[in-house]
Symmetry: C2
């Protein structure tokens, strides 16, 4: 068990489902946290519940700089670049993390601004089909994977400040009940294309094919259709942002899916129609996933002391086996 | 509200997830019900809970004939033909229904045996990824659609006995909390290809593509992957039986899905990668489904008095709009 506490206040920029839930959780831990929301009504709604939230970005960033806060970017990808410019200008000494669902494009923006030594990427694998402050909830991250990136430490020897930042990002995730999974940005983006972006594409497709069947078809829809289309109810702008930003990795996953479906089609039009190959393989895959992710065992655990000799090798190993790390 | 009661005892052949749950529910209504299970251990397990269950098919069918029971076929498609032969031989006067997930192939077997005037097809749209008596549960059908077929009444003037049988099948469904949706076999099979069989095919596909990503990928899998692959955990033999038996309608649905995915692929490799078209259409479809099937309104209702002039026209109308019928 981690017993350390995060060493600085937390400043969350963007209070939608993820940012808002994080604000609730961090506040519930009695840690110092304040936030910014672009929409004054959303900020007011949060203030009405007693949270320390502003709709003044400049004032919020100046405050973050003053108290040496950890800044959390909790906005959709399209809003990241301009926020980073504001941070460079107004909070030049703050450590920065983010919760954006793709990592390579954020990393690119970080490198363009020379912010590598004060940035550690993050991505909590949690959410619902709802969005906005009103959807934010306590405990959203409990048991969830929270990816924490470390490309900077692989590419060069990071500063002690960066190591401290990495620890604080890991502690932030741990504080709200998530499990820290180290991964570099490319490994992350390839993985989420398969288990988050492709599921959205297939859910949208299934929803449309069901709808084309007309009234009787929708009337008969039960559990398999309801679950298979659930994430098609997500806000289209958010689904587009993640899929389009990660289009290369998504294409790879989609092509694998298309190949499997084309094979299934060929077997369906054969003289003895069969889906044996697909169904047997799919069943084995699901069982493997259940054993790994839903089973009692859960993810393997590695204990890591950041900054110690060999710790980056440990992170690489954790990435390879999908382990969570416990910082000590 | 229907206030009528089913007019005869119920005899359930096959006590897996569906048949076993039906046995529990009918018994809980204090209606007369007995059953047969091929596996002696499954039959014993049911008897141990106080249910009237045998593993002797011949004795069960002779008893059904003697008490004039409604026989419910609750076995997978491959077992239907031989059971029908046994019924012809041992229970020649009993009305027959079934809960098989495809209807055209069962109807074909019925016609081959000249049983049209004593058969009414059924399909409760309920289930879990588990199977067998141990998965059977009380209340499984509550609120579920229960398709009841009526091709025979469209093809010719049915006997009064058939009308009475239709009423009892509808009452059986109503008794366990389901909603009666009239549909002819072809309309049913086309509908379930879209909202049950295609979801299985896509779930198997997604499970495989996720698995191919390796340990990190599975470690990061969260809600969208879990829900999108849930039914890939169903017993492969059951998934194969329903998909392969309904291969023509499934092919139509699969081809629609493939066309959508190919379009999405083309838009992903364009100069400005976009999934706008797919995501916007999928979102609208899901919202329409939610409004119809998960909303407060629920399905439209038609009141029908079986046997009365024009009642078959009412059933055709109900099929057209996906309405449930209330028998009075």
């Amino acid at each position: 068990m981690t017993t350390q506490s995060i060493s600085r206040p937390v400043c969350i920029l963007g209070l939608g489902l993820i940012g808002g839930s994080l604000l609730r959780d961090v506040a519930a831990c009695d840690a110092s946290v304040f936030g910014f929301n672009r929409s004054p009504s959303g900020a007011q709604a949060a203030r009405d519940e007693g949270f320390d939230v502003s709709d003044d970005l400049e004032a919020t960033l100046l405050r973050a700089q003053e108290v040496g806060a950890l800044i959390v970017l909790a906005v959709p990808m399209p809003a990241v670049a301009s926020l980073l410019d504001d941070i460079v200008r107004l909070a030049p000494d703050c450590g920065v993390t983010d919760v954006v669902s793709v990592k390579a494009q954020v990393w690119e923006l970080i490198k363009q601004r020379g912010m590598e030594d004060r940035y550690v990427g993050g991505h909590p694998m949690a959410g619902t089909a709802d969005s906005g402050w009103s959807a934010a909830q306590l405990g959203l991250f409990k048991g969830a994977a929270w990816v924490v990136t470390f490309d900077h430490a692989v590419e060069r020897e990071p500063s002690q400040e960066w190591v401290n930042l990495w620890v604080d990002v890991a502690l932030l995730a741990t504080m709200v009940g998530a499990q820290v999974i180290p991964a570099r940005v490319d490994a992350h983006d390839k993985a989420v294309a398969r288990i988050s972006h492709l599921p959205h594409v297939l859910a949208e497709t299934l929803a449309i094919v069901g709808d084309h069947g007309g009234a009787l078809t929708l009337s008969l829809a039960a559990g398999s259709f309801r679950d298979g289309t659930r994430v098609a109810g997500s806000a289209p702008s958010l689904v587009r942002a993640m899929c389009e930003t990660n289009h290369e990795a998504l294409l790879t996953a989609l092509d694998e899916a298309l190949a499997l479906l084309q094979d299934a089609r060929a077997n369906l039009v054969a003289d003895s129609p069969s889906v044996e190959e697909l169904v047997d393989a799919g069943y084995r895959s699901r069982i493997r996933y259940e054993a790994r992710s839903l089973g009692k065992g859960g993810r393997p655990v590695l204990r890591v002391r950041p900054g110690q000799a060999g710790w980056v090798q440990q992170l690489l190993h954790a990435e390879d086996v999908g382990a969570r790390v416990d910082v000590f």
